[in-house]
Amino acid sequence: MNVQPQPIRTAAEQALLALLERRLAGPAVDGPLAGRIGELRRAAHAAFAANGLPHRRVEEWKYTDLRGFLREAAPAATALGISDGASAPSAVAFPGARRILFVDGQLSPAGSDLADLEPGLTVVPLAQAMAVGRGTVEKFGTLAPQRYDGVLALNTAFFGDGLVIQIADGAKIERPLHVAHLVTHDHPVATYTRRLVEVGEGAAFTLVESFEGRSGVPYQVNDALELFVGDTGHMDYVRLQDDSETALHLSTVMVDIGRDAKFHAFGLTTGAIASRVSLYGRFSGTHSHAGIRGVTLLKDRQHADVTLLLDHAVAHCESRELFKTVLFDETRGVFQGKIVVRPDAQKTDGRMMSQALLIGETAEMDNKPELEIFADDVQCGHGATAGALDEDLLFYLKARGLPAKEAEALLIQAFVGEALEFVEEEGLREALIARAERWLNARTG
């Protein structure tokens, strides 16, 4: 008798596999990329069938057991939810930014400002770009990590709508482009969105993204973003994850950084019952700089995971990471940061820091910074701290008349402010600082 070893699958994994099989049998991508995308989808399906959802015994997911957080596989949203009525959620707008809106995983032409795009800026819906099959879209999937990433595999298998954004060589796009994601359904759905962004040689671009949705609904977001920063290019990426307090948020951000280029990323995380952002960064050209920073504010029973893998593949690059996490109540924060310095990446200068403030009695922070260095002439450092608010600082503020709550809020604002001040664009920086303040005042007030 021929017995195949069958992995034990959770109900959600079985449901996801069934959905995957239906997806593979469904409509395929049109155009020149049909073969490759089909191949990627089948590979993703096979990898998921073999490995399933990442769980505690998978090193990169040790602190975030997705089998536990994803107990029911929500079907991919196909229709629009309920976007009118008094209880309908609405998407944030950032002053001065051009907004493109995705509702329930689909581009909303009515909510998007696609008129009079600046010269050098091209924004094309993903399906349309696939049908043409030339340019940036040809790079689809090329930044995927070597290791199995179950979340990215699901995105690759299921992805529906998305965008391809291209900045022509030398174009400096001053106005930030905001891609807003909103889930409006009143029952659990999953959204699988994907975007590719290519910043041309010497070009400059600021991309803002936001994720929000209907309160009380356990919807699931699985988003993937592939970024290519060309030689001497400059890209700022700012993201706000403010999904509803019942949502599951999973994001994969992949970036390739060319020569003499700058990439700055900043994330403010306040939403979702459980979230994970995996950021895969790679320097493929020398003398470039990456600054990756974030602030996470958690309350009640939220769980937020930021996992970073930065590959210094070439010499003379500089990277700076700073992550601040504030944990109230019974929350749990996770930071995993790994810097890999390849044998040829001499003169690498890398510094990574994660700091956590534990306010809640039973809050927990898991910090795992790692350096993997194969070159011998580099400067790399990492640090991690976790602690309570400084009693002496609190006393000083109280002795000047600040009530305890106000003193705490001021110190927490100062703590997160050290990371927020790195957001370069002033309007965005102020909007994010105001958001963080509102969150803290609501929590501590």
Binding site: A399, R400, G401, P403, E418
Partner: protein
């Protein structure tokens, strides 16, 4: 009525008894100096009055304008008019001095049921008072005390005191770490606050400060109590003879 009335105050930190039955009365308009050897409990007295949580009061009372200070939170004590100029003012990175000053003033006004200060009024007031103390606009924009020299930190304390207009000022070794020029600026700032309805307690190790801030009463503290009180000439006597006679004192 006395502005500050301390009766039989006992306080300890962990199991270490520091104040052992201290009595002190400060009337409105008076400046009292408290001197004494290291470890006599001078700084502890200032922290206990301001409400630092590390200290436990085991007996006695302290009244400010008849209100029981020891039952109040530190912020309520500040709003009631008590101000402690810290011996070691701490740095608060990320909180701009301007923001801190405005937040403190308005928190106290709110606690007293007064309207908040308007932004133009606040800016005008800070500009005037900071200028008198040689505190630059750049320092006001920086984080509280971040990158300030020892003298600048002390001047920042006096600026806060000037803006908050407390009833009772406690200066804990404000002269420590000051050169003679800084000492003059700080003393002038303190003297400008002397008023018939305001009291001051000046804690110092050295007589030097008292040449600039001339006290009405001088107390000598030892082993957690006031062991001698007199006029300003007592400070000069201490300067000449030292504290040797007191540290032997087993009373």
């Amino acid at each position: 009525m006395a502005l500050l009335e301390i009766k039989n105050l006992h306080a300890q930190i962990e199991d270490n008894q520091i104040l052992r039955g201290l009595d002190l009365v400060v009337n409105p308009g008076e400046v009292h100096a408290i001197m004494g050897p290291n470890g006599s409990g001078k700084s502890t007295l200032s922290y206990v009055l301001a409400g630092k949580p590390d200290y436990e009061v085991t007996a006695g009372e302290a009244l400010l304008d008849g209100q029981n200070l020891l039952e109040m939170d530190p912020d309520a004590r500040a709003a009631a008019g008590l101000f402690l100029a810290f011996q070691y003012p701490i740095e608060i990175p990320g909180v701009a001095t301007m923001t801190f000053l405005r937040t403190a003033i308005n928190a106290q006004r709110k606690a007293r049921g007064e309207a908040e200060l308007s932004t133009p009024d606040f800016l005008r007031l800070v500009k005037e008072k900071a200028g008198d103390l040689g505190i630059t606009q750049d320092m006001l924009r920086r984080g509280v005390n971040v990158g300030f020299s020892g003298g600048e930190k002390k001047r920042n304390e006096i600026l806060q005191m000037t803006l908050l207009q407390p009833k009772l000022c406690i200066l804990d070794e404000t002269d420590s770490g000051l050169d003679i020029d800084a000492l003059k600026v700080v003393s002038e700032g303190v003297n400008a606050l002397r008023a018939p309805d305001r009291g001051m307690v000046v804690i110092t190790h050295y007589q030097r400060l008292l040449n600039h801030i001339v006290p009405d009463v001088v107390h000598v503290m030892n082993k957690g109590r006031i062991v001698r009180s007199g006029g300003k000439e007592l400070a000069l006597e201490l300067e000449a003879s030292g504290y040797a006679g007191y540290s032997q004192d087993a009373a």
